[in-house]
Amino acid sequence: MTTAVSRREFLKVSAALGGAFVLEFRFPAAAAAFAGTADTGTEVNAWMVIHPDDRVVIRIARSEMGQGTYTALAQLVAEELDCDWNKVSAEFASPNEHFRRHRIWGSMLTGGSRGVRTSQDYVRKAGASARMMLVSAAADRWGVPASECVAQESVITHRPTGRRLRYGEVAADAARLTPPADVPLKDPKDWTIAGKPKHRLDIPDKVLGKPVFGADVSLPGMLHAAIAQCPVFGGKVAQVDAGTAKTMRGVKQVVRGEDFVAVVADSWWRANEALKALKVRWDEGGNGHVDNAAITAMLREGLEAADLPQARKMGDVHAALAGAAKVVEAEYHSPYINHATLEPQTCTAWFRPDGFLEIWTSTQDGEASMQAAAKASGLPLEKIEVHKMMLGGGFGRRGGPQDFVEQGIAIAKTVPGTPVKLLWSRSEDMQHGFYRPASIVRMKAGLDGQGRLVAFHTRVACPSILQVLRPQLLSKEGIDFTAVRSFDDMPYEVPHQQVDYAKRNGHVPVGFWRAPGQQNAYYRECFIDELAVAAGQDPVAFRQALLPPDNKQRRVLEAVARAADWGAPTAVGVHRGVALADGFGSYTAMVAEVSVGAQGEVKVHRIVVAIDSGYVVNPDTCRAQAESNVLFGLGSVFYQENNLKNGRIVESNFNNFRLPKIAEMPQVETLLLPSGGFWGGHGEPAILPLAPALCNAIYAATGKRLRSLPLKHHGLRPA
């Protein structure tokens, strides 16, 4: 019986079943990656194609937005496949094929630092299963038991006789075998490809400008679209006067959507120039008056509300606070922040004459793009293909929301038969995001006579991301776990705890911004620092005492304190701050060293971060992710905020929403401390302790508590 269907056979089968499904427009993820996949290679199983010359093309279901999953997942497959890593390339799995084959590649969602940790098991099994089939095929050819054969670097050797066969020579036979039922995996300590700092597969092309990002798609006869959305969230188009736009050079079409207008032209610049010439009257809906003060009032009302649902309740926090020797209370807040991916949102859509719809887009979730395309076009999934392009950053903007896909389709519908590439301008991108929620948190804690933390009461007023993007994941009581994390799962041993959640959403769309809920780590870890001071204790020792021995959080805390020489004298004017946080499957602790000048210049001398992710698949990529998180966090700590005025976002571009430059990048020392037994992520965890470690260090330097971000409002800026 043949259970593995080769790619070519699969395509034939699909065609025979009536699908006009042709892959002629598949785009390379990396220029070399796709070469000849379908024609000369054999799909041993869904995760890989092996060519006669032993080249292995590994299929990647998750998206690549810089985090390195494209390489890490290939390493895991190759590790178990025992193939020659120098012959490995990768390609994105086709979302259309994915649905046709009953979601054979598992989840395509790339968020929550899940890329590796939630697919490592089945991708490793895919590699191991294929290796077993290749060995069996070789053994069958020799007429010997498979147990006498070993595989290494794409070669199968019959040990007793020394005969050898290459993977490329037996791949076609292997593909016809029944996959083994029992697929044991290697002990990670025996890894030779995974766990090693292999060069990323996508980098050689990236330095040449070769990868096709969503914004770079180019098709024969393709037109370009520029868009203007209603500046007030939730508003609509009331009236459009095309004016001179229609007669401007290169303009093909003016499109009126429900909440946007767009111009289609023969180049993007011409489309965007014509867009500026449109006279649009917007029906702003009821939110044209909302400003920062209204948002603050909304959150503050939530903070004071009676009968809030509780995300955590342990002991009796009120009684414990009443009986505490010392009570400390503080309120912290932070603003909305845009993702500001460097590549703005983009989608190319083509309603083909044969009734098929092709989409090319920078998406963090190929499946979500397919579903959005089906909904927007009315076509069934089998009549749609989403080509997953390289992403110019993601950070959560391109997973849950698929607004750019819906718009791309609405625009392309008006020119059937012609592909149209929609590209947002920077100001559209800045003003139509799904922002990190603004929130206010009030914390009240009690210390006993020995300075030990006995009660911790938190009230969180925060818009719910889940309500906007994943309402089915809200708890029965309406609690959004992303809004209360770091509080409802606080690792410190405090007998009396309560976390109240006020869900207050307003009209500003909120979304999964790198490490959703991370502002809570800032609030909690700064407040813990306040408590350490109130207890007259060292901030590391205060935390240590609240964590059981042999606890993972405690281990990273102690490791980072040692590495950063916590407690040892510093250079004159240099001060340290510490923070501990966990999330996205990993445990993280950080020490920041800063000095603060007379004019508020904050020099960050050193960041030391310790991460326990259980296992590490590519240590160099994990270090790069720590650097990435530090920079991403730094921008939000010092500069970034999105303000509301007249219902709309004030900031419009990088001149008023600053990204830090190379001069502001601190030295980052990353301690990878994988302790085994679990799989944690790397895309987000290191951002969690950044804000509190920095603010605690600045407190140590200045004596000033920083209870709101960004720090520019406290007269502080990077040196």
Binding site: E64, M65, G66, Q67, G68, H199, R200, D202, I203, P204, K206, V207, L208, G209, K210, P211, V212, F213, A215, D216, S218, H224, R249, D266, S267, W268, W269, A340, T341, L342, E343, P344, M390, L391, G392, G393, G394, F395, L423, S425, R426, D620, T621, A624, E627, S628, N629, V630, L631, F632, N653, F654, N655, L659, K661, I662, A663, M665, Q667, V668
Partner: protein, 154 residues
């Protein structure tokens, strides 16, 4: 018709003289390696060379490039890797990669003028924006190139 010399090839393009060079490269000449990030010369993703000097092409009218040599990432090193590209691979600099073509074009022009930069000079010259956090490795790669250049001289 405007006559442009891009990567050594002469092109005649029928575009408005005020169209920014970026869009002529991307949409009219099929050279998408130069990126759009902001349109106001803030981010540098659109950096190309004009007669060997790094310029931000998103605000440069195409008319200003007529008669001058334009070099994009596609033409930086025909048939091989430029030393800066090699260093970028060696130090695993790119993450998402979107800003990196502009970053590389800036670094090439900067290192030609100043082969042994100090950290302060790097801070002054390398003002391209990266959202992913590649700066540590950009600096490392530039220093490695400077060290290699010094090694060649001695």
């Amino acid at each position: 018709m405007l006559k442009l010399i891009v990567n050594g090839d002469t092109h005649e393009v029928d575009v408005e003289p005020d169209m920014p060079l970026l869009w002529v490269l991307r949409d009219h000449l099929g050279l998408p390696g130069t990126k759009y990030g902001c349109g106001i010369s803030e981010c540098g993703a659109c950096t190309v060379h004009l007669d060997g000097e790094a310029v931000r092409s998103c605000t440069l009218p195409v008319s200003a490039a007529v008669g001058r040599r334009v070099t994009t990432i596609e033409g930086l090193s025909k048939g091989g890797l430029h030393p800066v590209q090699k260093a970028w691979i060696e130090h695993e600099v790119p993450q998402c990669g979107y800003c990196q073509t502009g970053m590389i074009m800036t670094a090439v022009s900067f290192l030609e003028r100043n082969p042994h930069p100090t950290d302060d000079q790097i801070d002054q010259a390398m003002t391209n924006l990266c959202r992913c956090g590649t700066y540590t490795r950009v600096r490392k790669a530039i220093h490695a190139l400077a060290d290699a250049a010094a090694g060649r001289k001695s």
